[in-house]
Amino acid sequence: MNNATLQRPATPKPVRLGRGKNFSADRRPGFLTYGILLAFLIGSTYPLWYSFVIGSSTGDVFSSAWPPLLPGGRFWVNVAEVFDSVDFWAALGNSLIVSSVITFSVVSFATLAGYAFAKLRFRGRQGLLVFVIATLAVPTQLGIIPMFMMMKQLGWTGSLGAIMIPTLVTAFGVFFMRQYLVDNIPDELIEAARVDGASMIGTFWHVGVPAARPAMAILSLFTFMTAWTDYLWPMLVAPQTPTLQVALSQLQSARYVDYTIVMAGALMATIPLLLLFVVAGKQLVSGIMAGAVKG
């Protein structure tokens, strides 16, 4: 599963055993399966609901012995306090800018390099590809000290640029695109374009990019999510221009923590990704099932 083929696994076709007797695994499962899945679904969503219940109540909701199930009426009051404590919209804007730029950069450079590794012949290709694969294991997290020194030296700390720079390219992106393009562009198509007199970049643009589009979409989704959820580096290098994650964590760093407001903030910060999930949840699922790697 390491290699990222993007096709969805073939859906099982019912196999007939004898006269009209379906193979047992193709039968619809019983209630037990749905019960288990439903329980898992409740476990998956209850913490979010819980944050809404707390985030819409006053502090005395905590004194009830049993888990509170119904929301209070103070959600917007608490949200207003979130807006008073941190500059939510600025943080949202910062997160949007940072994640979009990183996504654009990672996907463009990964497509270019992945295409070259998959379909072009050049000296040193094999060695360089092995290098890319070897660097997959290098966590950028561990380079934070010199990276921080570098940003300080350049006077870039506190800027959005400093947040973006460490993740403008990823080895995983290059590897992912290469794996996809190797199988999905026939060599004849590239040769035909060349024979027709297309330049190298023209061939890339008219043959490579259209073929790469599905993989680019999935890589974009995952890169965006990874950039959006990052906390350590943005918190370190630019706490003055907080991303949404940093702003959210600042809600909690006050000496007296009001959990109702923290919860309202947590929910507000989750809504953008929930919206993304509604729009692109299917692609996320198929991307993961195709072997996308944790960010």
Binding site: P12, T33, F40, I144, M149, V169
Partner: protein, 317 residues
């Protein structure tokens, strides 16, 4: 005409390098250089404010290897990792097996297990930190209502590890279930059919066919979980806001990356923090090499299965 030919040849020769160069240039700058420079910092007596001091060789490494705080952080990291990886894998495999059946509303169920994945770690930590609050948290309230002893989630070592592992599990179990589900769906149908004809029930088939077949994916999931688990930071950092020491008043759940961060940016000892970074990097490399070896042997043995999958796919088109 001739000039055009020349230009075409140059284009042909140099374009590939042009296409890969942005990646390599940027990666050298933000991936490779910091890594090497971390090593340079680690063999010097380097302070946040004072800058580069004397060359001290491996003294920083020796000091860290002798430091109980370093070992404490490593122990905490592995403890939290084990508490999250094992239940996560078991539950994910189970859920994947449930999803692998011919259920109705497939897409709905698949998407539903992924909901926690879109909640960012910061939000996850805040939500669970509230639920695990020692005085007023959901979980202790519930224990109290059931007349059980409440648990000191934020002060005792083992409970705090459990609480942090819970956050990790909540976010990642569904994700891993989907990866495992993909592997299960790639198991050749004929295997299940012949076993069914031979009279093997669903449970027998799960242990004798499904589990052995998804072993490579299982190993892949374990390795990625390990690498991710070794870098855990956000959850322990934000778990208890009232603690002045990151990772608990007595460092009960201070993980290695959190320790590194504290060493560098609170105490200003860049040299020793860099030594910690490099040791952690070496641990990750060792695990990466194991990954490479295992997946290498697996790749050769699973080629057959892959080509069969490819054939069926082609046949469908």
């Amino acid at each position: 005409m001739r000039r055009r030919h020349l230009r075409g040849r140059l284009d042909f020769k140099f374009s590939p390098y042009l296409y890969i160069s942005p990646f390599f240039v940027l990666f050298a700058l933000v991936g490779l250089f910091p890594l090497i420079y971390t090593f340079v910092v680690s063999i010097n007596d380097w302070e946040l404010l004072g800058g580069a001091g004397d060359w001290v060789g491996l003294d920083n490494y020796k000091a860290e290897l002798a430091s109980p705080l370093f070992w404490n952080s490593l122990l905490n990291t592995f403890s939290i990792f084990l508490l999250s990886a094992i239940p996560q894998l078991v539950v994910a495999t189970f859920i994947a097996a449930m999803l692998d059946q011919n259920i109705r509303a497939k897409t709905f169920w698949r998407m539903s297990v992924l909901v926690p994945y879109v909640v960012t770690p910061v939000a996850v930590t805040l939500i669970f930190s509230t639920a695990f609050d020692e005085k007023y948290g959901l979980i202790n309230n519930l224990l109290g209502a059931l007349n059980l002893d409440t648990i000191a989630w934020k002060t005792d070592v083992f409970p705090s590890h459990m609480a942090i592992a819970t956050m990790v599990n909540w976010r990642w179990t569904g994700y891993n279930a989907l990866i495992l589900l993909a592997a299960m769906q790639a198991v050749p149908r004929e295997l299940h059919e012949s076993a069914a004809i031979d009279g093997a029930g669903a449970i027998r088939r799960f242990f004798s066919i499904t589990l052995p077949s998804i072993r490579p994916t299982m190993i892949f999931v374990i390795i990625t979980a390990t690498i991710g688990g070794l870098q855990i930071f956000t959850e322990p950092k934000l778990f208890n806001p009232s603690s002045s020491v990151p990772g608990g008043p007595d460092r009960q759940y201070q993980t290695t990356v959190l320790y590194l961060w504290d060493l560098a940016f609170n105490r200003g000892d860049f040299g020793r923090a860099s030594a910690v970074a490099w040791m952690l990097f070496l641990i990750i490399i060792v695990i990466g090499v194991i990954n490479f070896l295992i997946s290498g042997t697996i790749a050769s043995s699973s080629d057959k299965q892959k080509s069969r999958r490819f054939a069926t796919r082609k046949g469908k088109k």
